[in-house]
Amino acid sequence: MMTREQFIGHVKREQGALMRFLLALCCGNRDDAGDIAQETLIKAYIALDRYDEREHFAAWIRRIAYNTFINHRKKRQREATQPIEQARHITGGQEADSTFVGEELHRALAALPHSERTAIVLHYIEGFKINEITQITGCSEAAVKKQLQRGREELKRRIKR
């Protein structure tokens, strides 16, 4: 089993890429991406005894991050249904980072369904192969190919130059 020090070593190497992945999934929302990253890493540490060392650490951590992102999104959707009076008291960190130059890409990504967004980010930004994406998201190869195709078309349509 991986030791605590080995785990921290892996995290140090992966944290930049993990944050980039989550920032793209969260369409530039740094607060959400940071929260999900922390939750992902601690979940990974708790589940360390179930980590199969034959699997690539980067793919394993992305799978946990993806599942955490989905749970986070569901939680957000539930919160969105609460009365406006309660919603008024929610403060801070809700807007996407407008200073980032890729804001246009974030806006376009935000318009995609999360499955297409995830496939696009994993394949074109993170460089994962289609068979690796199927392991991370649990979708079939045909579904991932379709998500990539649809996602690309939608991004091209939405991004204007």
Partner: protein
Amino acid sequence: MINDNQLDNMLRDYNPETGNGRDIIADLERRMDAVDMVKEYQERQMAQLRMRAKIAFAAGMVMGCVLMIIAYLLPSPIEIITVTTGSPVLNGLIENIHYILGSMCIMLMMYGGYEITQAREYMNQKNS
């Protein structure tokens, strides 16, 4: 609308500022310490449970076997009744001594089994 090349370039060049890595690691290590503390506590609990289960099982087996042997080594119940007592309650008990001792053996063995089941259940809960 942009073309394929422009989109590919845009995605390839996506490299946002990902913040201070040291903060993430420091925060993570703090949380890991808390997790380690809980894990250690659970390990201790597990070790105690395992030990209790082993002792209970061994005690159940030994006691059960000893009682079983004693039950069959005792003289015939009829002889004891005639020699020792005329009390009808005691007579009834002595007449059925094989059954009583046999039941006690089974109860002790069952208790050992129960303790092991409890320990396994706890382990399963912990793993899930």
